[in-house]
Structure formats: C-alpha cells, structure tokens
Symmetry: C2
Subunit: 734 residues, 2 copies
C-alpha cells in the first residue's frame, strides 16, 4: 500500500485532515492545477510576498486544526494594498488563536465560473469522483455528476457533458471555453489518487475556478483521511489487486456453479410428503425437483417417513450412498445451522438454502441466525445459494427448484435477488415473448454467493445470449462494475435495480458522498458498465426480447408506419423523450411514395398515416422498401390498431393473421436487415381478436420480430437497443 | 388601456427599450424593491454622490441606446475611492461615445445569493412571470419557474418552492432567510404590471439580490416594449375585460352546442350510398348517423341518387322542408367553400365539417382553403366544428358521427383535437372500465369553435361528471386556464397534452421567453388550472375511471395488501417517485395482525406479503379492517397475481371470481369508504384465466372499485387522485 509523505505525517500527528497547503501539494502531484501560494509566518513576509505576487491577493489562516475558515473570519479576499494585507494578517492571527500556524498568501483568481470537484469513498463502490457546480450554489443546486474509479477520459468527459450547467464550460459571455483537457486530467487525477491511497476518504476542491482565458485552477482544497482501522466505509484493496483476485476467484466459482447447475445427485433436507396440488404444495421443493423430471439421483432426507414419491428416504446426509453434488435445505430456519454443520462433516460443499427467517426479517433473532450460518459456511468452505431464495432453474438439465416453471430452455439467463420475480420473469418471458431461459439463479440473502459469482459463470456460458438481472443491492459494487463491463460487449446485460435506498448504508458523514445519493451512483454505474437500466419486471422481459432478436442499430433514426392522427403527435413526443429521431421525409421520397399511395386520406410524413396499406399489403411492402433505401431510417416500427383493422376487414379476425404473415415474410425482407418491431393496440374484449393476438405474436416471434403492446413500449425498446449499440461501438474503439 | 408616463415617453421617442433608470422607476411603482440610485452627468457630481452614498459604489453608463453594458465595459463594480469613481466615470463616458446620456451611481449591494425575476408575453398565454437562479448562472443552469398571470400569492410561493435552488432562499451559510413576503410581492407586482400594460413585452430583473440580512433588492432591470401594432406576440385585452367577455360568450355558445348535441334534424351534405360493411364504409358519415339510430329527421343531400337507406335525398339545402339544426359536410375539401356559402344563404348556422384537406396538410393549397372557409364562417355567423374532425358523439340522444362507437351513455365527456383518439378513447374506456361517455367532441382544426367552447358547455352539463381532453394546442391559453380553473372544483378535468413543440410558435426573440419552452409553460398551466396531466391515451381513460369511482382522499398514505417479495421493493420505489407514502406499521398493529396471520411465510409490513389470505378471505377482510382503523392509511391497493392464484387454487379459474366477489362486497365494507383500487398481474395465455379477468373486472367496476393491470398503474392513479384532492382542498380554502 502506498503511503504518501503528507499522509504519513498527518497520521503520525493523529490528525485526519490535511491542511489546505498539504492538500494542494498532494493534488498537484496528480496533475491537478492548484493556485500558487506561499506560507508566511510574519506580517513583514506576508507584505513582501503580496508585493511579489502583485495585488490583489488573498490571505488565509493555516493550521492543522483550522476548519470552517470562512465562518471564523480566517479568509480575507481581494486585498489591494500593503496596509490591507498587514491588517488582514493581524486579524487572522488573532482570530485563529492557538490554532494559528501561519498564513497562506495567494493571488486573487479572477473568474465567474466556479466549479467543484471531489472524491469520496463509497461503501459499495469504493472511490467515486465528483464534478459539479461550485461556490455557494454547490449544495443548493446539486448539479453534480459522479463516476466510479477508475475513470477513463471518456468517463471524465461524460461527467462534464452531463451537467445542466455544461454551457458554462464552453465559451461564455466573452470568456473562453474551459481547458477541457486539464479538467479531464483533474478528474482522472482524483480517481488515481483515490485508488493509490486507500486512506483518503474524501477530497473537496471548491472552488475550481474557470478563468476568463479558460485556464482551470483549484483555489481551495481539503483532503480527509479515514478515522482509523475501525472506519467501515473503507475499501482496502487496490485496483490491480482487485483484477488479479477476480481471475482466480471467477475460475473457481465457475466450476462450483457448473456442478450446482448440472448436478449428478441432489439431496433435499426437509423433503416431505406433499398434500397434493394445493397452495402448500407450491412451497414443496422436493415435489418441484422431482416433478420437473430431474434425471439424476435424488435423495429425500427425512427421518420420519420411508419414501416420498417413490424415492427412498434417508435419515441424514451421513446415510447417503454418495456425496451429493447439491444439497437443498428446506428446513425451519432454526434447524439450518445444524444442517449446515452436517454438510461440513459430510464434505457436501454445494448448498442451496431455501429456508427463510434470517436477515430479511429485520429482527434480531433472524440476523443472529444468519451471522451463525455465515460463520459455519466460511469455516467449512461451503458454497451457499441463499438463504431465503428460490434457488436454481436449468431447464436444459431438467433441474428446477421453482414452482411450476415453463419447461422450455432458451437464450436468456436471469439473476435475481427475489424468488417471486424469478418465477414471474420466467413465465412472462415465455408466455408473452416465446423465449425460454438458459439458467435462473435466485440467491436471496447472498450468504456467500452474490450476483457477481453468477455473472462470472454466465459470462462464459454458451447457452446464455442475454443476461437479465433483478438487483436490490450488492456487496462489492466495484466487482459488479468490472464484471459487467467485460460481459456487455459480448452479451447484453439488462438490469432492474430496485430499492431507492439500498442496503449499502451510504456514509452520510461525507460531504461529497451526501450529494451522491443512491440514484446518482447507480446512474454512474449504468453509464460506466454498459448495463441497460429498466424500470420494471415487464420492461426487463421486453428488453431481453428486443436485444435477443434485434441486430445492433447504426443510428437513432426511426421510421414508423401505421394508423395515425393523434397517435402520430404522441409518438413524436415519445421518440423525442427517448432520444430517438423521426427524420422528416425528403420531397423526393414523398413524391415517390405518392406514386402508389393515394393522397386522399393518407399522410406521407413520418409517422406514415395510411390505413389502406394494411388492406393492400403489397403497397406496405413497397413502402417499407422505399423507406429502407431512401428515408435515412435506421430502425422501423409498424403500428397496428387491431380493433380498427378487425372492424375494417369486415370482422374477419383471420385477416390479422394474414397481415402478420405478410410482415413476417415480405415485410421483413423489404427492410434489408434493419431492426424492426411491431406495436399493437387492442382495446376490446373480443375473444376472436384476443386469440389472434396470440397467433400474430407467434408468427412475429418466429420471424425474429419483437411484438409489443403499445407504441410507447416499441419506441422505448428501440432506444434501449440504440443505447446498447452505442456502448458497444465505443467499447470496441477504445 | 393604461399608458404609463415612461412608456408614453419611450414610445414617443421611437424607442422600444426603457433605460435602466426608467425601468426601475416603473417597477418600484409595482412594489418591487429597487436599489437606490442617482443619475449624474459630471465627474464632480459622480464623486459627490458616491461620497454621500458611501464607498464602495457602482457606476454604470445610462442611455436609451445602451445595451450589453457589461460586455461594452460600461459597468464598474466595487469602486472604493474617489479616484476610482472619477476614473470610472471618464472611462464609461468615453466607451459609450455618442450613446452616453449620463451615469448611474449606486451603492454596491452585498449578497452572494443572486436570483432573477421577469415577465414575458406568451402568444398563447399572455403575460407569464418568471423566477429563478440569477447572475452568470441564469441561462446555463435554467433553474426557473413560470406562472401565467394573474398570480395568486400561492402561485408566487409555489414558484419559489419549485426551484431546485430553493434552499438558497432559506437561512444559508450564516445569512438570513430571504424576505419571502417581498419576493411574493415582487412576483405579483410583475404579474400586475404585465396585465396593466399590454405594451410591455418583457421585463428582466437580474440580479435580484438576497442580502445577508435577507432583504431583497433588484440591482439591474430592463423593460422592453412591443415593436409596434404588427407585433403578433401580443395580447391586447386586459384581465377584467377577459372575464366579462367570457360570461357573455359562454352563455351563447352553450345554447349553440346544446342544439348541435341534441338536434331535431340533421342534413348530411355529401351523403352517399355505402358499398357495404367494408373499409370505405368506415368513412361514410351518413351511414354512421343512420346506423346509430338517430331518431330525428335525417336529410341526405345528394343530387345524383333518389334515396339512401330509405331516406329521401335532396339536391341541396334549399330544397329541404326545414332549416336543419345541424349540417354535416363530408364533401371533398375544394367543394366545402360553396357548401358553406349555401349554409349562410339557407340560414343554417350549426355546421360540422368532416372533410380534411385544409391547414393540417401543411401545404399551401390547404392553408388557403382554410383561410377562405374561415372568412365565410365569420361573415356568415356560422358555428363550425372542424374541419378535419370526427365530430360529435352523444349516445343519450342517439347521435354520432364516429365509426362504430359503443352505444352506452355514461359520466365521462371527451374533448379531442384528434378524431382517432376520440374513437380509441371511447372504446378503451368502455371495454376496459365499463364506462360510457356523456358527450364527445372531436373538433380537428378548430376553425371557430375551440376546446374552450366545448368546456364551457360541459361545465354545466349534468350528464358529465368527469372531463377528459386530448390537446395539441389552443388558440387562447388564458381562456383555457380560466375556464378549467373554474370547472375543476366541481368536475375533474384530465388532459393529455401532446406535441412538445406546439402550434403557438413561441417568441424566441424574447430572452425570458426562450427559457420558458413549451413544457415549462404547460407545467405552469397544469399547476395553476388544477387540470390533471397524463402521459398517454390509456392513462387518460385509467385516470377518468379513478376519478369517477373514487372519493377524494384525505392524505397520501397507502397500504398495500398482496403477493410480494421483490414486488414490494419495486412498489415502494414507485410510491416514492409518485409522491405517495407507504407508512410503516406500528409494533402494536403488527402484533394485532400476528394474532391471525401466521408468522411463517408471511411478512406483516407495508406492503403486506401474505399469500394465504387470498385462500382465507375472512382473514383478508379482518386485515383490511384493522389496517383501515390503525395503520394511518388513507388509500388501499389490493394486488392480485392471477396466474399464481390460479395455480395455487388447483387450477380453479372460478376461484378468481370468488375473490373478486369477496373484495367487492366484504372487502370494500372493511375499509370504511376510503379509496380502494385493485391491481392485477396476469402473464400467461390461459383462455380460462383471461375470461375470468373480464368477469373480475365487471364485478369490481360494478362495486365502484377501479381494476388496473399492474401495480404501477394503481399507484399512479392514487397519486393523481391525491393531487386532485389537494388542489380542490386548496381551492376551497382560498
């Protein structure tokens, strides 16, 4: 671990705060431009130094115990004469009393544009860099951006562009644009300082002044160290160490998870005879495993009955004929510690604890019990999924611990803290989008296996093409960032992050950290990792579908064909909000379209409002072809108002199928491989139409065309696709 | 019209800008505190005046043609000596050249907190007041709030509270809280000035300084007048005049619309023999009217056939046996002017023009045609719905011009610029929420009847309990604000405002106006009118349903009962974002619940996660009763995962109906009149379950319980209800 000479000195003196002068010297070693300044101890040297710098100057008190300098009257700005300097010196010396150790003389830095930059150490994410509006407005306006260290130059540039006040960094009211390169280096310097010195808890540079000529200068700065070894908000491992640890750990955990996902034998502790297909049955894991057709050796453990569902029972693990590849524990919480101990004794390393009643209760008894099993697992070298979780679902090896899941295997993996969400996601994805899952891991309280472990496994899992996640919190946020950033260029990772105030109780003691808040840090996380953020479980499945079926897009231009009017105005708004463009069609293109689209009743702009096309499908095909070649559109939406088409077709529901087949076949050919989604609206309770919606869906999905209810969803999905495509592009070019 | 002495002088001199001194004098007459200042014309008087004020002082150039004073070096701040004042005077005089008319001497006003206040005249909404962050940050940060004049004290207070930087107005870093009363009076003063002088196009006060002791002072100000009578961005009518005009106009238009909505006779110009039930038929208005069972006298006008659908045809209006109460024109656009002329000749005053091909085409021919018919209508005193619109739907008098609408009459009125949206809204509301409509007006291009006219009618229409609107733009935004503000305390008005850049081409020449943008003005509109903003057509119907069925709420506390886990975390986030609270249950309440809720497998917190209750409905009732009495909840959501319940019930779909009946009957009784909505999730394509969803919906809606797909929608609806309830409360107490 690096120990800087200043940090060493401060620590030796029992301080936790570097003086302003010490702080700036340390910062300047990381390429951060600080104001020139001189330490003086007498009125005469203050006076001489001021003359040498040139008036106006600034005089500040200096001392290891000086804080709140402005409030204590220890900062004197804009001193314009020798008299003023001498009087300020005496005033500061007197006000500081015994804390006085000297004064700093600095030139007065001109510049209306005050920014702030900083660093704090987040309990989940480690060193986090901040940049934002400075001066008196800092806290009031909170126009700030954050990035998790280490920062790339793109990350630093992104922080500037993200601010509402980014205009102040351009040429502004006769003043020059800020020196962007120096600002980027400043933020990267903070990141490097944070990684190099784990003792640094916080850095505050405020103001960081943009001078009229664009030069950047840190005028005041403060560095705070950790309080001591008991300070929990502290990450002790350096960045390169982290990377090395990843490699070894991930290799091991992959083997473990592979065994758990494809076990040759399973023992179920707490297996019971189920009472039939009723509500209590849903919670019966043994029933789930055997019912799903697990082909391996299945051992129910229950000392009270002889057999369950034709399987011979065993009184305990020790009686088994082999060491099972996976032990599932579904006992009452209080029985779990002994069960785990028997696993340790029996050398059963791979465990899934289904039982609840631990930390999640928020009650002391549960928390204590979790601490106990954590200790047993650590000492015994156990790998534990859970407790309080639904467990595993691997349809390709016929193993599940979930209630009544679909049997179908597919390209989407799901990693979830919530079991209910795992169950729902699986069903929704299958029923609405015809997609099966490769692997599902529901890991609940994450005793010693966290989402990062399952991600390490899925990263190299050939069955998995898209990874979906439901997350409430994570133990090691930095690892999560590293691992996802590596996966994303190969497989999209889509995450629903719930819990506005998550478990990682953020250090509110930190000034900079208090502005971060949970949301802002996770915003940074998504930007840096390339994970695609979604707002709901439904959106998770919708987005997984889009990213599985659609090729990457080359741009954000969309052409929409469908029933219009008021919907056209609304969908333009939706596109604008989602960051997509609806390019206007050229006069030339409109002329070409009017060659086969009648002017009466049709609007040939974007979106195209031309109902009749759905009753003259060849024209729809020609239109798509022309748009694909001449409109500048990168992506396509076809919008179908099914009730209207049904009525207009003379109540022929099967005509809906005809349209679907045309689009899936001819329509798709005509857009030459560009992403296409179909949106539908269907309001009425007509069972015939409802039945045909399902048939249309099958036709579209088989053709690789996502089929969404509502134009807004379709637009949102294309914007997610665009975001992912752009991230991957940036990643490749780095 | 009032003419201020300064304004008169400026106008006489051919100027459009008041000098700084003139501007401040006018502002001070409206109770706005301005810095004391003195006009000087010689170096000596500048020097004397500075000594009298006391150093430091500020010197500024003064002149009718002086603008960009800072950039031109005509502002000298912080002058601390006689020498500095004299040198500054000479410098300014020289820089200003022939534009120089004198200098202003002001004391230097101390204060870090710089705000800006202003006024601009919006083409749609008239005088609009602005308040926000001032100084160099004004445009860069754009932390600004707007309100449409006239401002109430509550409006002014709301502007302050709405700013991100509102913290700066409280006690801040050792400085006192800003004088709130003076700030409120400043904003109201700007509003009154704007209403009193229609010549004032723009007022900019920047900075408006908050001094360390909290006093508020306008340090710089500028007033700009209209350029001349051709300046279109100009409203000429004063506020009290507006109100008087409303009364008379609304009375007349109500009678007109009543006749159109309940016509004894209708003539259809352009009626034709339809070709049967196919796509072309949908556009056949005569078919629509006759098919819907219109009971009055119906006259098809068509010189080429003898009869249509058993109705004798007439060659023209003149041949009719009476003057029809309503004439519907569905001719080609180019034939419409002559048709309108024949209406004028025949004294037929009430017209619906279905035809399109006018302004909405964006093409010159169409725009010219619209100007032509506008002139004919004005000269002939015609009342015209349309052109380019779907027209009317009044099921209670069996009249419609819409394609295949539901027959049922109901409590919801709909006013829409888009015909397609009118059709869809009607169907969606009926099919999904069992609600019929009282009246629908689709008015398209709004030739001379705008949404404000239909609102005036619906305000006093007994059939209408809730008003829904789809709006892209409005001619008279001020009237819209006045009329909705009056309706809202009696009937909720729900509006989907589409079109991020609407037709009212905002005056970008205005400095203050350029920061308003369309969205910010409409935000102000919603806050001031009490109209409930929604984001989509679906949300419009959902919200209409909530506000029709639910009583007003007393607060924002929600209790949720249902299937939980990961959904609980997500719904907490949704509540937070929607501004609702999920109050934690007291230990005492939890104890009481645990008397009949088993601890195992159930979580007795908010949301309650206790699946078994749906299979022991009496417990569900007891729980609701207890929560209603002891949890502090003002509103309730019951969340049903239908697929799960279906599976857990042993695949008994009819059990879903049992649950619905229990909640609709016993469940509802147990919450003692507080608002209750039921949310459901249903993912799988099981036709039995789908059929039961429809049955459950009927049961719930008959019991007055809105039934929504998705917890997020349920939460959002309760937040809309809370917003409406709060607005009405505030309105009553005023």
């Amino acid at each position: 671990m690096k120990k800087n000479v200043f940090i060493q000195k401060v620590t030796n003196e029992g301080r936790i705060t570097l003086t302003e002068a010490e702080s700036k010297k340390l910062l300047s070693r990381y390429g951060i431009p600080v104001v020139e300044e001189f330490i003086v101890h007498s009125e005469n040297s203050a006076s001489n130094q001021a003359k040498e710098i040139g008036f106006p100057v600034v005089l500040k008190g200096l001392g290891a115990n000086l804080s709140h300098k402005t409030e204590r009257g220890l900062v004197k700005l804009d001193l314009r004469s020798d008299d003023q300097v001498r009087s300020a010196f005496q005033h500061i010396k007197k006000s500081a009393g015994t804390d006085w150790e000297g004064c700093l003389v600095q030139p007065l830095i001109e510049g209306k544009r005050e920014f702030a930059a900083g660093l704090y150490r987040d309990p989940q994410f480690g060193p986090v860099v901040m940049f934002g509006v400075g001066g008196v407005f800092t806290e009031a306006i909170q126009d700030v951006a954050f990035r998790i260290a280490p920062l790339s130059p793109e990350d630093a540039a992104g922080m500037m562009d993200e601010l509402s006040s980014h205009k102040l960094l351009s040429a502004f009211r006769g003043e020059a644009a800020a020196d962007r390169e120096v600002l980027i280096n400043t933020l990267i310097g903070l990141s490097e300082l944070g990684l190099a010195y784990p003792d640094v808890m916080e850095v505050d540079i405020n103001p960081l002044i943009i001078q009229p000529d664009g030069r950047v200068l840190a005028v005041d700065a403060l560095i705070i160290l950790k309080k001591g070894p008991d300070d929990l908000s502290y990450t002790s491992v350096g960045y390169s160490e982290e990377k090395n640890q990843d490699l070894e750990h991930d290799d091991n955990i992959r083997k473990v998870i592979h065994t758990m996902a494809h076990p040759g034998s399973i023992a179920v502790m707490g297996a019971k005879r189920s009472r039939g297909n009723d509500i209590s049955d849903l919670g019966d894991i043994f029933h789930r495993v055997s019912n799903f057709g697990y082909p391996g050796r299945l051992y129910p453990i229950n000392p009270n009955v002889k057999d369950i569902r034709g399987h011979k029972t065993y009184p305990d693990l020790a009686s088994l004929p082999e060491i099972p590849d996976l032990v599932i524990i579904c006992l009452q919480a209080k029985l779990v510690p002994d069960a785990l101990r028997s696993c340790v004794v029996g050398n059963c390393k791979n465990i899934h604890i289904f039982s609840s009643g631990f930390k999640e209760t928020g009650e002391e008894a549960g928390i204590t019990l979790q601490t106990e099993i954590e200790q047993i697992a650590r000492d015994g070298g156990l790998h534990v999924i859970g407790p309080n979780c639904m467990g595993l679902h691997v349809p390709s090896s016929n193993i599940t611990t979930m209630p009544y899941p679909p049997k179908e295997s597919g390209p989407v993996a799901f990693v979830s803290q919530s079991g209910g969400n795992a169950r729902d996601f699986n069903r929704y994805l299958h029923a609405r989008f015809g997609l099966g899952t490769s692997k599902i891991f529901s890991y609940g309280n994450a005793l010693n296996m966290d989402c990062t472990d399952f991600l390490a496994y899925l990263a190299t899992d050939d069955q998995t093409r898209v990874i979906a996640m439901y997350l409430e919190g994570v133990k090691d946020g930095r690892k999560l960032l590293r691992i996802i950033r590596n996966i994303v260029p190969v497989k999209p990772v889509i995450m629903f992050k719930a819990g506005l105030t998550d478990s990682g109780a953020r250090a509110v003691a930190s000034h900079t950290g208090s502005m971060a808040g949970n949301q802002k840090i996770w915003d940074a996380f998504f930007k840096q990792s390339g994970a695609i953020a979604v707002d709901s479980m439904e959106q998770l499945a919708e987005t997984a579908t889009a990213l599985y079926y659609l090729e990457k897009t080359k741009g954000r231009n969309v052409a929409i064909v469908g029933t219009g009017g008021g919907m056209s105005v609304a969908v333009s708004d939706t596109c604008t909000k989602a960051g997509l463009n609806l390019p206007a069609f050229s006069d030339e293109l409109a002329q070409k379209l009017y060659e086969f689209v009648p002017r009466s009743g049709n609007m040939v702009c974007n979106p195209i409002d031309a109902h009749f096309m759905f009753f003259n499908l060849e024209i729809l095909g020609r239109t798509l072809n022309l748009l694909s070649r001449n409109s500048g559109a990168d992506m396509f939406i076809i919008s179908l108002q099914l009730d209207w088409i049904f009525t207009a077709s003379g109540l022929q529901a099967q005509y809906l199928e005809t349209i679907a087949r045309y689009i899936a076949d001819e329509g798709r050919k005509n857009i030459h491989g560009k992403p296409l989604v179909v949106a539908f609206r269907q309001y009425e309770d007509n069972p015939e139409v409802l039945r045909h919606v399902v048939m249309m869906r099958d036709i579209f999905l088989k053709a690789g065309i996502p089929f969404y209810e509502g134009l807004s969803t379709a637009v949102l999905m294309l914007s997610k696709l665009a975001g992912y495509s752009e991230f991957c592009k940036g990643f490749k070019s780095r």
